[in-house]
């Protein structure tokens, strides 16, 4: 049986990251865009933990801890923004939020 090395995790992480990025780029529902961002963060976290294990250094796990905390803060603010936008625009379609149009 082949051995599971850190490359396997890199591959998985890249796949998840790409899927998340596609979600961000292609969906119009702001909430799903947000969730896709979480997925991308998660892919990065997976890489951190995998390399923490590979390099035998616990610092990677500490960084994941920070990423999770920041993600929590980001989600709180982001969802509050979405709720606020929904109240004024009655839509969470991000294509309708285009006030910055040139």
């Amino acid at each position: 049986m082949p051995e599971v090395t850190v490359e396997w995790y890199v591959a998985l992480s890249v796949l998840l990251f790409s899927i998340g990025a596609l979600g961000v780029l292609l969906r119009r529902n702001a909430i799903i865009v947000f969730m896709s961002i979480e997925l991308m963060l998660n892919a990065a976290n997976l890489l951190f933990v995998a390399f923490a294990n590979h390099l035998q250094d616990v610092d990677g796990q500490v960084l994941v801890f920070f990423v999770i905390t920041v993600a929590a803060a980001e989600v709180a603010v982001g969802l509050a923004l979405i709720v606020t936008i929904f109240r004024t625009k009655h839509s969470i379609n991000i294509d309708e939020i285009n006030l910055m149009k040139g």
């Binding site: 990025a21 961000v24 292609l26 991000i94 294509d95 285009n98 006030l99 910055m100 040139g102």
Partner: protein, 739 residues
């Protein structure tokens, strides 16, 4: 456990408080006076207390770290690669700086709390706390910096805060319509500049000699160069290292004289009493004025090298000894001046100058630990005395207010700080009386209060090593006890000499509680610091000095006063006193202090002035009074120096600058030619050449911008796509091309 990583927070907390009070404090206070004041003052106090907590944390961290200094690098501040100049913004946590941190934040927090009560109702309540936090911030930079430049930043910053706070009530005018508080602030600022100039020169010299300004590097290389007998070259000249260090240390003395109010620059300190009383307590008694002592103690290595080299300043006196003499002379002179003051705060101000003289003298004699010890205890009892006097003033104002409302008794000339209008306050303000007495006795050096231990350590050292200094300091100590006895008697005993004093009331608990805490510290401070508080250092001190149970503070501080170790290695000869507690000296000074107190109490001021118009008993001895009253160099300064200076500046300003430079060189030579050229370029060059160019390029930019504008679709996803494009491009680059 160590928590050195948290050290930056000690600077962050005051900044938070300062920003909050600076931006929102006024709104809070204006919106709702009562809660606004609580919020504004409370927040500032909490920030100060948080800093204190960090300082305590640093203390325990050091303990568990075996007292080894720790430097926390935050970032590189100034980097000039060509000059090999690299000055980091780094925090040095060692026993000395932690001692200062604890004193500054501890006493500072108490004063913050006190100030909430004291400043109650002031229209600029939140501005005051903004300044207090700003001060705390700069003072902490001063004591935590690991190089002379950071120290200088703090040094200037506290000077600024001192200026702002002395002139806090800048709109008040005296009888002649002059803005007295603003002037006092200006005076302090200018007097400090002299010292700052010396500091800058000293830093330039040091940087020239050692190529760095970091404490540890400077001290190490100073020792190495001293042992090598290195010569310092200044272009054509060259000088021996001790000579350069003599200059540096003399300049340090000058800087310290400015900040710590020594002869001849002490004139600003008594005037600084124009500020609110918490300021006087915090800045002009407990913390800022001690920065000169901190500087000298911090650079002890340089002073000791000068002492060991035997190099003399102008061939007369070693700069280290000069420090000692300056301090002793200041202690004596200021102690004498204090006799003639009638303003309750000015007596304390001169007393502060005198006590600072003690510390400087101690540092000059090489008794660094004693200097620091006196600095700490002095912060306790002088803070206490100032706050107590603030409480008295508050009470008197209250009484006066009561009068003004009670009947139509208007008394515009009433000065709530004049001791001649007080008397008998011990019945009205019981708590204040008790704590004030404790403070006064501690200051006079009565056993077993804090002042006794620290002052005797200095005196004992003087008795051992420098008899002249010892003599002056002993007389100064006698004076201290005398004027404190005088003040106690005039303020608290006898009958009230003014209607306001009869209606004085005790201050609010918010003010009295910090007083009690400080009183407690004044009582036990002497024990706490030098008795078995620090178990490990006690053991170590016992090990080093068989007789030294009183040397816990020394055991603690010797980890950052390098001269101790250099002295053991025989490089310098620190005049070290193994037995700091000398019964002879202690006995003599106690007898003198008690005698002075009794003299003031029972003899001279027994028949104290019964009314405000009566003369002070000392005034009956005309010579003494005139002499003491003339001692303030103030008079000399105003009568002698200022007119001369005015004349010189008038000549410089009017004749040299006005007639020659302005009228001739500027008007005729430079201006006329310039105007001619300018009109040519304005009328011809500009309208045709430049405008055409500018308008043309503006049009071009506009067309381009219209093109680019289309790419801004306003769709977040398009932007995200470009970000993703960039990210992928970077990945491709790093994978394929980076190596």
């Amino acid at each position: 456990m160590n928590a050195f990583g948290l050290a930056p927070l000690i600077l962050v907390f005051p900044v938070i408080g300062l920003l909050l009070n600076g931006f929102f404090g006024r709104r809070f206070v204006d919106a709702d006076r009562k809660t606004g004041e609580k919020l504004s003052g409370g927040f500032a106090s909490v920030m100060a207390l948080s800093s204190f907590a960090i300082a305590v944390l640093m203390f325990f961290s050091l303990r568990s770290h075996e007292f080894h200094a720790e430097v926390i690098n935050l970032f590189n501040w100034i980097v000039v690669p060509s000059a090999k100049l690299q000055i980091p913004w780094a925090i040095q946590v060692d026993t000395l700086s932690v001692t200062m941190m604890m004193v500054v934040t501890g006493v500072g927090s108490l004063i913050h709390i006190y100030a909430i009560g004291y400043m109650h109702g002031d229209p600029n309540f939140s501005r005051f706390f903004t300044y207090l936090n700003l001060f705390l911030f700069f003072m902490l930079i001063l004591v935590t910096g690991n190089n002379f430049l950071m120290l200088f930043v703090g040094w200037e910053g506290v000077g600024l805060c001192s200026y702002l706070l002395i002139g806090f009530w800048f709109d008040r005018v005296d009888k002649n319509g002059l803005p007295m508080n603003a002037n006092a602030g200006r005076k302090a600022f200018v007097a400090n500049r002299v010292g700052d100039l010396a500091m800058i020169l000293a830093m330039i010299l040091m940087f020239w000699t050692f190529g760095t300004l970091e404490f540890n590097t400077v001290f190490q290389s100073a020792v190495e160069l001293f042992e090598e007998g290195h010569m310092v070259h200044f272009g054509l000249f060259s000088a021996t290292l001790p000579a350069v260090l003599t200059a540096v240390t003399a300049l340090f003395l000058m800087g310290a004289a400015g900040k710590s109010a020594q002869i001849p620059l002490y004139i600003w300190l008594p005037d600084a009493m124009a500020g609110p009383t918490p300021v006087s307590a915090l800045i002009h008694a407990a913390t800022m004025v001690t920065s000169g002592i901190y500087l000298i103690v911090r650079s002890n290595v340089l002073f000791e090298i000068v002492r060991a080299s035997g190099e003399l300043l102008f061939g007369i006196v070693s700069s280290a000894d000069l420090v000692a003499y300056t301090g002793a002379a200041t202690a004596l002179v200021a102690g004498l001046i204090a006799f003639t003051q009638f303003d309750i705060k000015k007596v304390l101000a001169y007393s502060t100058v005198s006590q600072l003289g003690f510390m400087i003298a101690a540092a000059g004699m090489g008794a660094y630990v004693a200097a620091m010890f006196h600095l700490i205890t002095h912060a306790f009892f002088k803070g206490l005395l100032f706050l107590g006097s603030g409480s008295v003033i508050h009470g008197m104002e209250h009484g006066h207010h009561h009068l003004a409302h009670g009947d139509d008794h208007h008394d515009d000339d009433f000065d709530p700080q004049d001791m001649r209008t007080m008397g008998g306050l011990r019945h009205k303000m019981n708590s204040t009386f008790i704590v004030y007495t404790i403070g006064a006795l501690a200051l006079s050096g009565i056993f077993p209060l804090a002042g006794f231990w620290s002052k005797d350590e200095i005196l004992a050292h003087g008795g051992e090593h420098n008899f002249a200094v010892y003599l002056m300091l002993t007389i100064a100590a006698f004076c201290t006890a005398f004027y404190m006895g005088r003040q106690l008697q005039m303020v608290f005993f006898g009958k009230p000499r003014h209607a306001a004093a009869e209606h004085a009331e005790e201050s609010s608990p918010l003010m009295v509680i910090p007083l009690w805490i400080l009183a407690g510290l004044s009582v036990v401070g002497g024990f706490l610091l030098n008795l078995p508080f620090l178990t490990e250092s006690l053991a170590e001190a016992n090990h080093n000095h068989p007789t030294g149970i009183f040397l816990a503070l020394e055991g603690w501080l010797e980890h950052s006063i390098q001269a101790f170790h250099l002295s053991e290695e025989g490089i310098v000869h620190l005049p070290h006193t193994p037995i700091v507690f000398s019964p002879m000296v202690a006995g003599l000074s106690t007898v003198l202090a008690v005698g002075a107190l009794l003299l003031a109490f029972k003899l001279v001021y027994r028949d104290r002035p019964q009314t405000a118009d009566e003369r002070d008993p000392l005034e009956k001895i005309p010579f003494v009074w005139k002499f003491f009253a003339a001692l303030p160099f103030e008079t000399l300064f105003m009568k002698g120096f200022i007119p001369l200076f005015n004349k010189a500046s008038h000549w410089l300003g009017h004749t040299l600058d006005g007639t020659i430079w302005h009228d001739f060189v500027h008007e005729r030579v430079i201006r006329d030619n310039f105007v001619g050229f300018a009109s040519f370029s304005a009328d011809v060059l500009d309208t045709n050449g430049v405008d055409g160019l500018v308008n043309g390029s503006a049009k071009a930019v506009k067309r381009l911008a219209n093109l680019i504008r289309r790419s801004q679709t306003g769709y977040a996803r398009n932007y995200a796509l470009s970000v993703f494009l960039g990210a992928v491009a970077l990945v491709v680059y790093f994978v394929y091309m980076a190596n």
